[in-house]
Subunit: 317 residues, 2 copies
Amino acid sequence: MTSFPKQVEFHEEGPREGFQMEKATYPLADRLELIDALAATGLKQVQCASFVSPRAVPQMADSPELFARLKKRPGTRYTALWLNDNGFERARACEQVDLDGKIVFYVTEPFSQRNNNCSVAENRERQLRWIDCYIALGIPLEQAYVVTSFGCNLGGPVPVSAITDIVRWLADVCADRRIPFPAFYLADTMGWANPEEIKRRVGAVREIVPQARIGLHLHDTRGLGGANVYAALQMGVELFDSSVAGLGGCPFAEHKTGSAAGNVCTEDMAFMCEELGISTGIDLEKLVEASRLAERIIGRPLNGHLMHSGTLAAMRG
Amino acid sequence: MTSFPKQVEFHEEGPREGFQMEKATYPLADRLELIDALAATGLKQVQCASFVSPRAVPQMADSPELFARLKKRPGTRYTALWLNDNGFERARACEQVDLDGKIVFYVTEPFSQRNNNCSVAENRERQLRWIDCYIALGIPLEQAYVVTSFGCNLGGPVPVSAITDIVRWLADVCADRRIPFPAFYLADTMGWANPEEIKRRVGAVREIVPQARIGLHLHDTRGLGGANVYAALQMGVELFDSSVAGLGGCPFAEHKTGSAAGNVCTEDMAFMCEELGISTGIDLEKLVEASRLAERIIGRPLNGHLMHSGTLAAMRG
């Protein structure tokens, strides 16, 4: 009935997603301490910062300095987010950024227009140019995301075919260029997913590219984050984006946009995996400590659960 | 692969569990308003208050007055909690309490000693006396709970056999007395459950009493509440205790006892059911309004998700 993966990899987004969402800016030293605490848990990838307009996102204005001051631990990749050529060039200029070739697809016109100022089809062509850019620079194409894969507040329900169309198109593109098909991420950007839709959509992708790694980027907007991860595990999904302490959620009053709830919580989901016998490579006790550090830095109670209750290790004796 | 129930029944515990956990006491009028708002959503059972020592739990000292002032809606049962003869007599003295015959089993000695001041075996004999008391009074035996069904902070892991022993014993007791076997509830009192253990233990109970209704009383102590409910739904479980807005959780600093996290959140779990096509009989929009009322009464942000993001109905157009 279940076909759990043997091991699961969590890509930590807290340091970028968490602090970017906050109104305040936080001292570089605090953010560096959190990043190091996260890397020390065994997390294989930590997204540390974004290279976006400092005017629009002042919290991330010091990303170059942050990367310059990182003391990197072996076994962890320290990644960054960029959204356009300018951001990419700024990220490339930082020696310590681990560049992960990433492309992002849209499936509804209004959200593509709002975020990209272009149509879904035009954005797809732009991703083609990113692919060729990565190839030219020798950067492997690692991740393809489909945002609002389960539904969109602006564009409504998203048919499965909107996703499978992209999968087929991208499979052709990769075959043409003789590059491997990247890990394919379904992003539940606005919290529309439910466990059965997770299974349906993961299954539909896998039918077309059975060998591809599939990932999920889930937000806990409507309280189904954990159930969605469990459903994905039942489908053998082995890649999850997540945030320590559930970082990324806005303070409560601002939740009503429906698009700003935090990612699923890294330590809660890693705890679930370990309880299910699925290896994460993460030291859970250290991760709980890191989540408590995040709470001390942010200065208000965060949404994680395990951080407030502790693991079961001590109680099992 | 899945065998969802056609419909699911949530037993609301927020008005009792939520306010009992808070340090403050709240005006009777506010609690009555919340209870009425909950009943108006279509919830079939709302646990309104407890009849326990007013010295130990001053928040519930006015339970008789609360029940006296209830304006009951047809279709909803207004229940109460009691823990001993004295509490039961006080509950019986309130005309408007819908008495539900309930028994509670323990599976670890230290927790039974702490809560009952007697052994697990002695507590089982006490439950036998409750059963006979209910029979004598013509009150149907409706619910049998096993607390710390998945593990106990004081007593450690709980073997499946500790539960199945109780099931077999109770089946004999009911057969002897020619009364129906009650709904059998596994309570994850301290947040040890994970989805696979839900399936294993529900399956073990069902093997012995295939016709019995099975219920779950889950706390979201470690962030697995939603995944645990989903796993239970996959097993066809149709009865859940829950709290509006996740009420019952202590303010954060006190979570570290590991036993005081809130119940799973009624509206988040009802939303999941409805998204999965499982009928709940609940008007979700009204329930979201009730959860926001609870937040206004308590006066701080509560743990529910849907209450802050809203349902998808409006966005689906």
